[in-house]
Structures are given as C-alpha cells and as structure tokens.
C-alpha cells in the first residue's frame, strides 16, 4: 500500500500508578501493544482491569494523583512523552486521537444544543466560520445516521442511542487518525447496540481512522476487532489476532472468558453451559510479585505466586503471559468442564 510505517500508535511498557493514602495502586503494569493503520484494536477485560485507566493515560486525562511511565509512547512517529501538555492538547487531542467516552450517554453538556457542542469542538481546533462548521456537523450527523436538524436539539431530547451516535460524530469531526471508543455499546439495548456496531463498521469503510475498541463484551470484540488484547489486573495477559485468539486461546483467563460468554453456534450442544470464573479481580495496591490471575486460576502452580510471568511470543502476532503455555492442550481440555473452575479446593 503506502510507504508510511504500519504502526500508528506504539505503547511499550506502560505503567500507571495512582497515589492513594493506602499506597500506590498499580492500575496498569507493563502494557505493550501497537495499533496499526486502518485496524480495529480491541481491548477486553472485566471491570477494574485497567482498561479505562490505560486510555486515560494515553489521552492524559488521568486524575491528578495518577502517574504514567512508559519505555516508549509514540504516535505516528512522534514521541508523545516529551510533548508538553499544551502541545499535546493542541496537536494531538481530538485532532489525531479522539475519544468516544465511556457512558457517552452522559457525555453531552446538558445546557448546550448538541450541534453547538460539536461546532465548539471543531472551532476549538480549527479556524472555521460557524456556518461552515455547522455544515460539517450536518455532514457528520449524516455519517452516523442522525438527521441534520437534530443539531438544534438538547441532549435530553435524544435517546441513548442517538447520544451515542452524536458522540461518535463528534469524535469523527476532525478526521483523527485514531479513535478510542470506551465501551461504546455498554448500557444500550441489544438492538440499538447492533445498529451502532453496524454504523461503526460502515464508517470504517468510509474513513481510514484506526479504532481502539474497549469493552468487557467479548462478543463485541469478536465481531468488530482485527486484533485483541485481553487485560487482567492491569496487565495484558494475552494478545493476538482476533481469529487466532478465539481459535487457539492460550491463557487460562482467556479460556475462562470464552466459557463465560454464550455463543449461538454452541446453543443446545453438550457443554454449552456458561461457566463463570469464581472470585473477583485482585486489589492492585502495592508492588506486585504474583501473577495477578493466580488466585482465581484453577491451573496455578507454585511458580505463579512470587513471580510474574513474562510475555512470551507464541506466533508472529500472538503473545501470552503464563507459566503453563506449554500445557495448553491439556488446559483447554480441562477448562471445558465446570468442575475445573468450581471445585471446592
């Protein structure tokens, strides 16, 4: 295709700590990934795994007690770490990396008309007469499937799905290279969810922005993304091309996640029962010495406590953090049974 490098966003060994009275919270640890041009990169994980902190750190939207460190943080060949806050705000935020925030439902200022807010966002970055900006907004509304005259409505006059689409329209406003979508379909009913996803896919065929899609919904990830990272306890436990990840999952957590989600194809078949992963995510206070998943992992061995498994390359595009990657065939077999996860040990 073009000569431009394939990598759009490169994140290497990113750590985010929150300073609290009880000690540092290690919300994100040693996260490395890259987002390529024209791809959807999915980040999956349950609540509290560090997904939102990760993107807040990328966009410099952390609370004041949050600190970010990284070995490398580059966007399109530019080093984001050495960039001043002002430059970042004026050159990167929204222009290059835009955000469809979590609960986009509440992300519109209730006192301004929806169109006005979008115009404001455009004019904050571009010298553009209002009339022209409004035309642009109408165009954007059309892309996301909203009628142009809805620009003059207030957010409370919108349904949840409409607000979501308005937020997506705003994110598209300046043709950014990368759009971060934080739980774009959470809280919407399935039909609206489906329509939003279809709309995102249509938009993808029209524009060439890459997307980071963050969700706890494995089904959405499977449907939308080209590559996936599975996060747990602030770390990426496994990352691979989507098909690869679902066809040959390696990490016990990924195996568990797969069990916990229904699939139409396996409905009615033996072993189609949903199996949850007992327990809850680990507290992330203080320095960590164990594999974060070990306490919930039915396959944990002695090594898992006291040592954090390093990320191991499994294929060109496949990595996982586990000490038992070599036993994966056996683990996959055992992971299919409910008693493996819910034994009373």
């Amino acid at each position: 295709m073009s000569d431009a490098p394939q990598t759009l966003l490169e994140v290497r060994d990113l750590n985010v700590r929150y300073a609290t009275a009880e000690g540092d919270i290690h919300a994100v640890s040693d996260v490395s990934f890259e987002v390529r041009r024209d791809e959807v990169f999915g980040i999956a994980g349950e609540s509290g795994c560090g997904k939102s902190t990760l993107i807040r750190a990328l966009l410099r939207l952390l609370h004041s007690n949050g600190r970010t460190e990284a070995a490398a943080l580059n966007y399109d060949g530019r080093d984001l770490q050495t960039m001043s806050d002002r430059d970042f705000r004026e050159q990167i935020l929204w222009q290059e990396i835009s955000l469809v925030p979590q609960s986009a439902m509440n992300s519109l200022n209730p006192v301004y008309r929806v169109g006005e807010q979008t115009v404001e966002a455009i004019q904050a970055h571009r010298e553009m007469p209002t009339a022209q900006a409004r035309e642009r907004v109408a165009e954007l509304f059309d892309i996301v499937g909203l009628q142009a005259d809805l620009m003059n409505s207030y957010p409370h006059e919108f349904s949840g799905g409409m607000r979501q689409r308005a937020m997506i329209a705003m994110a598209l406003a300046l043709d950014p290279g990368l759009i971060v979508m934080d739980e774009p379909t959470t809280g919407l009913d399935v039909l609206v969810q489906e329509r939003i996803l279809r709309r995102i896919r249509e938009i993808r065929s029209e524009i060439r922005s890459s997307i980071i899609l963050i969700t706890h919904d494995i089904a959405v990830i499977a449907e939308m993304s080209d590559r996936v990272a599975v996060m747990y306890g602030g770390r990426i436990m496994e990352q691979a091309a989507t098909l690869d990840l679902f066809e040959s999952p390696h990490h016990p957590y990924t195996l568990g996640l797969k069990n916990a989600f229904p699939s139409i194809r396996s409905l009615g078949q033996a072993g189609a029962e949903l199996i949850s992963i007992p327990g809850s995510p680990p507290p992330l206070i203080g320095p960590q010495h164990d594999c974060p998943f070990a306490p919930r992992c039915p396959f944990s061995i002695e090594r898992c406590a006291g040592e954090i498994p390093p990320a191991r390359q499994l294929g060109a595009d496949h990595q996982a953090r586990c000490f038992r990657l070599d036993d994966v065939v056996e683990l996959r077999e055992q992971a299919r049974h409910k008693r493996t996860w819910h034994s009373s040990n």
């Binding site: 966009l59 929204w94 925030p101 519109l108 006192v111 301004y112 970055h125 937020m167």
Partner: protein
C-alpha cells in the same frame, strides 16, 4: 474567538433572558416579587423627578405654618419629620441609594464569590485549601462590627459601605458554588470536553459555569437582599453615608429625634419598604431555587 460565536452568544442571551423571566414568573410569589422589584428599580431611576422636594428641606403647609411632625395627609403623603422634612421625598430618594447599594454590592459580591468558588472547586488542591481557609477566616468576622470599623476608619461614604459589604458577603456564594463545581467537574461531559482538547478556562467558563448558573442567580438575589439589610442596619447605627439619604438612614434620624413613640408614619414607610424589597428578592430567589433544586417544585 470569532465574531460568529459572539453573535450566537447574543442570540442565546436574548433567549436566556426570556427563559429567566419565565422561570421567575412561573411561581406566583416569584411573579409578585419580580414586579415589586421592577417598581422599586423604576422609582430609583426616576427618583429625582418623582420626589417633590429635596430630602433635607424644611416644608411649610399651604397656610404658611411650619410642617413639623405632620401625619400623612394629601399635602405630605407620608407625613413629615420633626424638622419639617418631607418623608415621601426622602423615601423616594432613599430608594435610589438602596437599589444602587443592593445592585452594586450584590453583583460585585457574586462575581467575586462565583469566581473564587469555580476556581477553588475546579483546581482543588493547595489553591482550594488556600482560598477556602481564607473564606473560613471571613466566616469568623462578625458582619456589623466589621463594617462599623471599616467605615469608622475610612469615613462614612457610600463606596466604603459597599466595599465593606462586598468584602464579607461573597463568602457564602463562594462556598456553595465551589461545592457545586466539584460535583459538576466530575461529570462525564467535563471529561469529554477535556478529551476534545478544551483548556481549563474554557472548561470553567464554558462548561461548568452554565451548569451552576441557577445557583449563581439564586445567590445574586440573596446577596442583594443581604446587602440591603446590612446597609440599613449600618445606617441605622449611624455608619451609613451621611450625605445620602437611605432607608436605614431615615430610621437613624428618627431614632436621633427621639420621636419614635409619636411619629409612627416616620418608621412605617422605610421599614415597610425594606421588608417589601427584601421579601421580593427572597421570592425571586425561591423561584430560582426551584431550578437549582427541582425537588422543591412538587411541594
């Protein structure tokens, strides 16, 4: 900022005024209060033309007699003082003083209070600590003694009375608006605005301020009401501007004259005016409070 945005601002301001009128008059008491305030403001504006006599001029009745301590009559609608001053004229001219004091100190104090509240609440941390401890110190100041000392030091002038009132009265508005700012800055749309590259000032004045506006207006009317009461109290104690007639000043002169028990008309007019204006402001505040706190609406 481009011209176009300013133009849309003006349009929005026109719409907003109509909206405020609707909010105030939706409540029956708010409507009464609103029109009483309008009446007082009109009297204040046209006071020099409305008042038949200068405030401190001895009056003689049509038969040529010295009009001392006359009860209300056709000739002197609100009666006269022991020195023969026309109370009707005094009252009208005093309205002007009171409205000026209320408007000026009310507006200045809310500008100070709202800004300190917004900045303190938005930035938090050490700045917040500093500003709020300063506010606490002001809470430790007894209101009237502070004004008396300040006026005693600098002189009995209207400017110093206003300054003294403003210096104290912003404290409550700052605290309340700070609290609301803290609540609003955590809302998702503020984070979304920041993700769109909005700077601090834009977020404070473009995104948070419109959301605390009902509270700002509520405290504007509170501050005006308090300024009026405070000025009246200070004047009554003899610490108002000696050159300008005010409602409190009228009561002070009554007190000095020693005719309190005789001249009921002398204290009735200014007292009723203070009560009417302050009550009207409270009614208007209540109308705003229903916007700021919709739970009040159902009662």
């Amino acid at each position: 900022m481009s011209l176009a945005i300013e133009r849309s601002w003006i349009g929005a301001a026109g719409g907003a005024l109509a909206e405020h009128y609707r909010i105030i008059t939706a409540n029956p008491l708010g409507r009464i209060g609103f029109w009483i305030i309008v009446a007082f403001v009109l009297v204040a504006i046209f006071a020099p033309w409305l008042a038949p006599h200068p405030p401190w001029e001895m009056q003689y009745d049509s038969e040529g007699g010295f009009a001392s301590l006359r009860s209300p009559s056709l000739e002197f609608p609100l009666g006269t003082t022991h020195l023969g001053y026309d109370l009707f004229s005094q009252l009208i001219l005093a309205t002007r003083t009171t409205v000026i004091i209320g408007a000026v100190s009310g507006v200045i104090s809310i500008v100070i209070g709202a800004n300190i509240g917004l900045i303190s609440g938005y930035y938090g941390g050490k700045l917040d600590e500093l500003l709020m401890r300063f506010t606490d110190i002001l809470y430790g100041m007894p209101f009237l003694p502070f004004i008396i000392v300040l006026v005693a030091l600098f002189g009995r002038k209207l400017e110093f009375v206003i300054l003294a009132i403003v210096l104290i009265i912003w404290r409550t508005s700052a605290r309340v608006i700070r609290a609301q700012t803290i609540a609003i800055k955590q809302r998702q749309f503020i984070i979304a605005a920041r993700a769109r590259g909005a700077g601090d000032l834009r977020i404070i004045y473009r995104h948070i301020l419109p959301n605390v506006l009902p509270l700002v207006l509520l405290y504007t009317s509170f501050n005006i009401a308090w300024s009026i009461i405070t000025e009246a109290s200070a004047s009554f104690l003899g610490f108002g501007d000696g050159e300008t007639i005010s409602w409190g000043g009228m009561l002070y002169e009554l007190w000095l004259s020693g005719k309190t028990r005789v001249a009921w008309w002398w204290f009735a007019a200014p007292s009723l005016c203070i009560i009417a204006l302050v009550t009207s402001l409270v009614f208007v505040s209540r109308a705003y409070e229903e916007v700021a706190n919709p739970r009040l609406r159902k009662r």
